[in-house]
């Protein structure tokens, strides 16, 4: 994956064979520890287990390891059943609406990026649905995780960074006919399309004008905060001024004032420094 400026793409899969396809494709390495995490330089994978609660918990745990600006995209990848016979087993679909059957709540990833991948809506159910269950909530796809995934992911990133891609595994009837090994293979065959779409989303998102402060900018602001004992409002003003400075002078370092600041200054003097620094940043 060609992530931009050291951002990582976070893949979330429920089942080991789903994660296996991602891991095989990107040649990810297992991270030692109690949770099934895998990574390389540009990608990270968490395998969550079945069900929306587990998926939400592990997605949240995985994402909390990253600063939100270092997350390029969060991708739920896996299999889903379909109520629509026109979908063939093995087809890859992009999800534009996720509904949680239990609550009726719906979630909508942004669909900003051009793609050839067909779209569909998906319902997340709590128990396995088969063709004998008459009360299928909404036509489209069915899974058991996506709503939990979206809810957790949206705590960390906006809808433009959330992607849900599902491969058709069955028509709510013939699930048992296809083995996990075959499913992993079929998903692996779809991975080039997945990677292409994720790359396109990263490219789109890179065109934002909004400036996310990087760790070194945060460190700069936090140092000012502690040395100058600035108020919340002053912090917000300085943050905006830093954003403006980065935009106007991408190659220049931030003004190096904080190192010379004495902590024994009076409030009036501190405020004056903040004002002068703000002006300097806005110049």
């Amino acid at each position: 994956m060609n992530s931009t400026s050291a951002q990582k793409t976070i893949f979330i899969a429920a089942l080991p064979f789903e994660g296996g396809a991602v891991s095989d494709y990107f040649r990810l390495k297992r991270i030692p520890g109690p949770l099934a995490y895998f990574e390389n330089d540009a990608n990270f994978l968490a395998v969550t287990g079945v069900g929306k609660a587990r998926c939400a918990a592990v997605t949240g745990a995985a994402l909390s390891q990253f600063d939100s600006h270092s997350i390029g995209a969060v991708v739920n990848i896996g299999i889903a059943g379909s109520t629509d016979r026109r979908h063939r087993v093995g087809d890859l679909l992009l999800i534009n609406k996720i509904t949680e059957a239990a609550t009726g709540r719906s979630y909508f990833p942004d669909m900003l990026c051009a793609t050839q991948i067909p779209e569909e809506c998906l319902t997340t159910v709590d128990t396995v649905v088969n063709e004998h269950v008459t009360a299928i909530p909404e036509n489209g796809l069915m899974d058991m995780e996506a709503a939990g995934f979206y809810e957790a992911a949206s705590l960390f990133v906006g809808p433009h960074k959330i992607i849900c891609l599902k491969m058709i595994s069955d028509h709510l009837s013939n699930l048992s006919k296809i083995s996990p090994v075959q499913m992993r293979q079929a998903l692996l065959q779809n991975m080039p399309q997945v990677a292409e779409y994720v790359t396109a989303v990263l490219q789109c998102n890179a065109q934002t004008n909004a400036i996310e402060l990087q760790p070194d900018h945060m460190a700069y602001l936090n140092q000012l905060k502690s040395k100058l004992r600035i108020t919340q409002t002053q912090y917000a003003v300085l943050s905006d001024a830093v954003r403006r400075f980065i935009n106007a002078h991408p190659q220049q370092p931030l003004p190096d004032v904080h190192l010379t600041i004495s902590t024994k200054l009076q409030k009036k003097q501190r405020n004056q420094i903040v004002d002068e620094l703000t002006q300097q940043l806005l110049c």
């Binding site: 669909m111 900003l112 980065i246």
Partner: protein
């Protein structure tokens, strides 16, 4: 469906989100038919999409989506004190749509909404009935209604006849006055209608230098002037709004040029009136836009959010062209 301007983006309006309850409404069907290739996504309420947290306004602008919805009451809103004081004591605005096809840096909508998507309310009838009811309750005293407040209705017309129902409504209710403010040049879309005397087409104009820099995607000033001239010639009431007047180092020079270009083409005596409005914006909106648009110098200058009296030179300049009784200088509603 790619967007030629930004190739990795989907075309604008590639998706239409449709509230279930109005999916069969004639206006919804009309708009859906215009965008036959769009992906249709069913929703319960427009807020599910429009009000999502952490949306990236500038990215969405590159591939905006349409949301078709039913407007819920209250249908009529009083003006905020950031708006031009109306000559009518009873002045309200309505929102047949939320969001705009253009992308002006100084637009308060960017501070007001999380989303760059466009909500079109298809139940215009309900809004119009509410206007009539208010008008009745106020003993039919003249009522002023701004119909293009949180959008640019004429610009939106290409998505589906947005202005025609208001022209028809104006014809039926001569004591209800309507203003349709716009930066669009698409007058041709409504030129076939006979002009109601109580319907004012109000074109916002800025100096070329400011329009090029800050009014992204909006038609050039020359195009707007041409549209305004055509409208006047066809008997429409036209208001010109030099609004917002943005501070600049050569302010009087650039406005001198704008006024002379404008009134070389338009006869001020044939205008309904001319307004002059300063840049004004609530502090919260200003801060939100400042954060979202670090590239825009407008939000990083020393700017007075509470507008000051106009630069005398500009007022003097415009008075060379516009008779005193037709000139309206901005005054707060409050």
């Amino acid at each position: 469906m790619t967007n030629s301007r930004n190739s990795c983006f989907a075309k604008p309006y590639s998706h239409i989100y449709v509230e279930q309850q109005i999916a069969e409404a004639p206006r919804a069907i009309d708009i859906l038919n215009r965008f036959g290739n769009a992906e249709i996504v069913r929703i319960d309420t427009y807020k599910q999409v429009f009000n999502r947290p952490k949306q990236q306004f500038d990215l969405q602008k590159k591939s905006a989506k349409i949301i078709l919805a039913k407007k819920q009451p209250p249908y009529l809103q009083p003006f905020s004190n950031q708006c031009q004081k109306s000559e009518f004591p009873n002045a309200v605005y309505v929102t047949p749509a939320l969001g705009c096809v253009y992308d002006c840096d100084f637009c308060f909508l960017h501070g007001m909404y999380n989303s760059a998507n466009i909500v079109v309310f298809v139940n215009i009838d309900d809004i119009q009935k509410a206007i009539c009811k208010t008008h009745e309750e106020q003993n039919r005293t003249p009522l002023w209604v701004s119909i293009s407040y949180e959008t640019d209705l004429l610009a939106l017309d290409s998505l589906g006849a947005a202005v025609a129902p208001w022209i028809a409504f104006a014809h039926q209710h001569p004591n209800i006055f309507m203003e349709c403010r716009t930066r669009s040049s698409a007058f041709h879309r409504i030129a076939m209608h006979s002009p109601p005397p109580n319907f004012i087409l109000a074109w916002s104009l800025s100096p070329r230098e400011h329009a090029q820099k800050y009014e992204h995607r909006a038609p050039r000033i020359e195009q707007r002037l041409r549209a305004a001239k055509e409208a006047i010639d066809m008997g429409w009431k036209v208001r010109l709004c030099f609004d917002p007047v943005l501070n600049d180092t050569h302010l009087s020079d650039i406005f001198q040029r704008l006024f002379s270009d404008t009134f070389a083409q338009l006869d001020a005596c044939k205008l309904f009136d001319v307004t002059l409005g300063p840049f004004r914006m609530g502090n919260d909106f200003f801060k939100r836009i400042q954060r979202a648009r670090p590239q825009c110098d407008l939000f990083y200058r020393k700017i007075e959010l509470e507008p000051e009296p106009f630069d005398r030179a500009i007022v003097k300049e415009i008075q060379k062209y516009v008779p005193r009784e037709k000139l309206v200088l901005w005054q707060s509603q409050s």
